[in-house]
């Protein structure tokens, strides 16, 4: 009785058939090489198409930037939503040379000094800080020159109010307990979106 190997050797079709047929082999070789050639050319075509797309996008971007100020899409308005930031010394009682201003969200008024101590140009960075589960503060860090200005101004204003203004509105006041230098925190039960808008706006307007 034959074993498996002998049976397979007997039945092996390669024992009866030619190994291959040159015509069919050549034909297959041509098909394979044509496929390889097409494959080689495909990336070039794709690269050209990508290049065209990038050029077109570049033109569109340039046009959008050139005419951005004349457009009113939400995207453009978000990009330019700079927040004017100021810190001013304030008084609780009216006096000559002071401007009356309402504290946002309250019935209270304060009396602002003419000049701002620091503005957006004096801000090194701003970030949001979670105050509690639903409200956020904005921590503002001053530049060295901004910190000097703050320190000098607040040192001679101990026990009196100071006002933080965003876009000309007094959003908070605080009594100066000690000289403020490097940083300050804007509080006011801000939502996360508001805090992000303020932090982003303060730094984008530098």
């Amino acid at each position: 009785m034959k074993d498996i190997r002998e049976l397979l050797q007997d039945a092996d079709p390669l024992r009866q058939e030619p190994l291959t047929w040159s015509e069919r082999r050549d034909s297959q070789r041509n098909v394979v090489l044509a496929t390889a050639l097409a494959q080689r050319d495909r990336p070039r075509t794709e690269r050209r198409a990508r290049m065209r797309l990038f050029i077109a996008l570049g033109f569109v971007t340039i046009i959008v930037l050139l005419f951005a100020e004349h457009l009113s899409s939400p995207l453009i308005s978000n990009v330019h939503a700079a927040v004017r930031f100021e810190v001013r010394l304030a008084e609780e009682n009216p006096a000559a040379g002071l401007h009356t201003a309402k504290v946002s969200g309250t019935d209270r008024s304060v009396y602002l000094h003419d000049e701002a101590i620091v503005t957006n140009g004096d801000i090194a960075g701003a970030r949001i800080v979670q105050a509690d589960s639903s409200s956020y503060n904005v921590a503002v860090e001053f530049t060295p020159s901004g910190a000097d200005k703050m320190r000098a101004a607040t040192a001679r204003h101990i026990g009196k109010p100071m006002a933080v203004l965003l876009d000309g509105q007094v959003i908070m006041t605080a009594i100066v307990r000690e000289p403020i230098a490097d940083s300050a925190v804007i509080t006011g039960h801000l939502s996360k979106d508001e805090a992000e808008r303020i932090a982003g706006g303060i730094t984008s307007a530098r």
């Binding site: 009785m1 034959k2 498996i4 190997r5 049976l7 397979l8 050797q9 007997d10 039945a11 092996d12 079709p13 390669l14 058939e17 190994l19 291959t20 069919r24 082999r25 297959q28 070789r29 098909v31 394979v32 090489l33 496929t35 390889a36 050639l37 494959q39 080689r40």
Partner: protein, 186 residues
Amino acid sequence: MNQLNVAQVLPVPGVGSPIERVAMLFDDHYDRLYRLARRLTANTDDALDLVQETFLKAARSPKSIPVGFASEEAWLVRVLINIRRDQWRKTMKRKRYEITASGESPLAATGTDLERSLIARATVWRALDVLSPRRRAIVVMHELDGITVSAIASLLGISQITVRWHLSMGKRDLTHALKAYTEARK
């Protein structure tokens, strides 16, 4: 003969353009792949299609093929077996049904010695269809090409234990499938 061991000591050829690479792959490995393909399929047409499909895959991604004769061969053999496995899975159910439904066995046929011999060979070859392509490839490479277990393991990227297990199970399955045939020849 173990061609792998010979191939491994050959210098690695330089790789030109992708087209040249594919042409070189085709010329270097076509015969080897055809032999394997023919032993994994029922007829020459299927074998030629299988080889072409393997090289087309190589042509579509020549950069994914490792450099070096042995590595190229291993890559191509694995691709060929995988393609065959996909074909096999698709047709296996149908084939089983056809065999069962026809109720015919080539062994039942009668005729001259030549006819009986041809039928016997066809029966043996048909019995190989019960093996999965990978197992079948291992069996034919070992039994017909005489490739060692370690060389097959290296070629297919599997352990020698797995190769031995496939050989053992393959022989068992074949023996089972050929039982009727061997009994008829007694």
